[in-house]
């Protein structure tokens, strides 16, 4: 009956180019797809942004 307010939160999914380990974090200004970000925690490889997407939560 009462429509809930929908809030979209942007996330960035990074993936290691060597060991393919994924890491999901909140989107940060300046994030672009396929850009190399940080070192991988498990294999010292380079993390690359694989996806940027929004997930909705209802308030």
């Amino acid at each position: 009956m009462f429509s809930k307010e929908e809030i979209i939160i942007a996330y960035t999914l990074e993936k290691c180019k060597s060991c393919e380990m994924g890491r999901k974090r909140k989107f940060a200004e300046g994030d672009y797809l396929f850009s190399e970000t940080t070192k991988c925690n498990s294999c010292e490889g380079t993390m690359q942004i694989e996806k940027i997407f929004g997930e909705s939560i209802e308030k």
Binding site: L33, I52, G54
Partner: protein
């Protein structure tokens, strides 16, 4: 003295008598009122709903204008206050060419639209000439959003006020019928603002996202305005990749780029990957394959690609990712983003099924490439 304890209701209202004048009045009076004033009553009821929608549209256009001015002030650092200039931009209009004689209409439309695009770009750049191309593309898109919402508000308000002024109920009917669709679109356009401000990929960017990843580590060439191409190999075939130049907000000029590619090296097939509007009842983010040029917009790019393909006898295949209007222009949803790998697999299957080793394929990622480099 009247005895109120002994009133016979049947007798008072004449339920047992068909000719009672009081009962006749109760029935006939509303009928007479509705005959003479029915349309006006309906107009009043409908106007209440439309007024609420117009108030919402007004809020949307004010929000878009404020966001645009703030974004320009914050990111372009103009020397003067940009408000006056932006308010003038919002009133820009485009007069489409006469179509009484449709011969050559596409070239005329393309010329008019591109002239407007070039003029807007130069005007926005004049606010602060040092602005980067990426920032410029964002501001131009935000300006388009603000202009669209401004225009929608003005048109709906005009239709409403005209009907009210003329006290003409039938005049308000078409507006009442299309208003839910207009509101859906206006809401979607307003919700697109944060994604464009932050440079996040939108649902429409799924095509460029698929092709952009395939273009990584290849040599890119600027083939047309804001449109890049590169070459790679797949299973013994030459793959020519094409998309708008990211990560700025642009759809590029794929028509011009296809013309340049075909003139140099005729591909055996063309595959176009684009977002498509889903039908009501269809699930979001499902993919579908088909034939023909999958590209939206006003139709000039599609016309150009179809024309080149027909003249050179090149079949066009299409893969679309279904989504709603809102999903197409706001931050890409997880479901749509998750389809990127599936689409790449479908492209590879399509190539294997429709070409032989040694042949060449032109793969176009169609859509707005905001937040999607290559």
């Amino acid at each position: 003295m009247v005895d109120f304890t002994n009133i016979d209701l049947d007798q008072l209202f004449g339920f047992s008598d068909d000719s009672n004048p009081l009962l006749m009045l109760i029935w006939i009076l509303p009928i007479i009122i509705f005959i003479f004033y029915g349309q006006r009553i309906q107009l009043q009821v409908t106007s209440g709903e439309i007024k609420k929608a117009i108030k919402k549209l007004d809020a949307y256009r004010i929000e878009a204008r404020t966001e645009l001015i703030e974004h320009v002030k914050k990111n372009m650092n103009p020397k003067e206050d940009p408000t006056k200039k932006i308010d003038r931009f919002l009133e820009y209009f485009t007069i489409m060419p006469v179509d009484m004689d449709p011969h050559g209409i596409v070239d005329k439309v393309r010329h008019t639209v591109r002239a407007r695009e070039d003029y807007s770009r130069n005007q926005v750049k004049s606010l602060s000439p040092e602005t980067s191309e990426l920032e410029l593309s964002k501001v131009i898109t935000l300006l388009e959003i603000a202009t669209s919402l401004h225009m929608i508000y003005k048109i709906v308000n005009h239709m409403y006020l005209t009907a009210k002024k003329q006290n003409n109920y039938p005049l308000i009917l078409p507006l009442q019928m299309i208003l839910p669709f207009i509101m859906e679109e206006a809401e979607a356009i307003t919700k697109a603002i944060p994604a464009f401000k932050s440079g996040q990929p939108i649902g429409d960017g799924i095509g460029p996202m698929v092709v952009g990843k395939m273009m990584l580590d290849t040599k890119k060439e600027l083939l047309a305005f804001q449109t890049v191409s590169s070459e790679t190999e797949f299973d013994g075939r030459k793959l020519i990749l094409l998309k708008a130049e990211g990560p700025g907000s642009s759809v590029g000029r794929p028509g011009d780029a296809v013309e340049a590619i075909v003139a140099k090296n005729k591909p055996d097939i063309i595959i176009m990957v684009d977002a498509a509007l889903k039908m009501e009842g269809e699930d979001s983010a499902i993919t579908a394959q088909g034939f023909g040029a999958a590209i939206g917009g006003i139709g000039t790019e599609r016309f150009q690609i179809e024309d080149i393909a027909t003249k050179n006898n090149i079949p066009i295949f299409a893969i679309v990712i279904k989504q709603s209007v809102k999903e197409a222009i706001t931050l890409m949803t997880k479901d749509i983003a998750n389809q990127a790998e599936t689409v790449r697999t479908q492209i590879h299957e399509m190539i294997k099924e429709n070409t032989k080793s040694g042949q060449s394929i032109l793969l176009i990622g169609v859509g707005n490439t905001i937040g999607v480099p290559q």
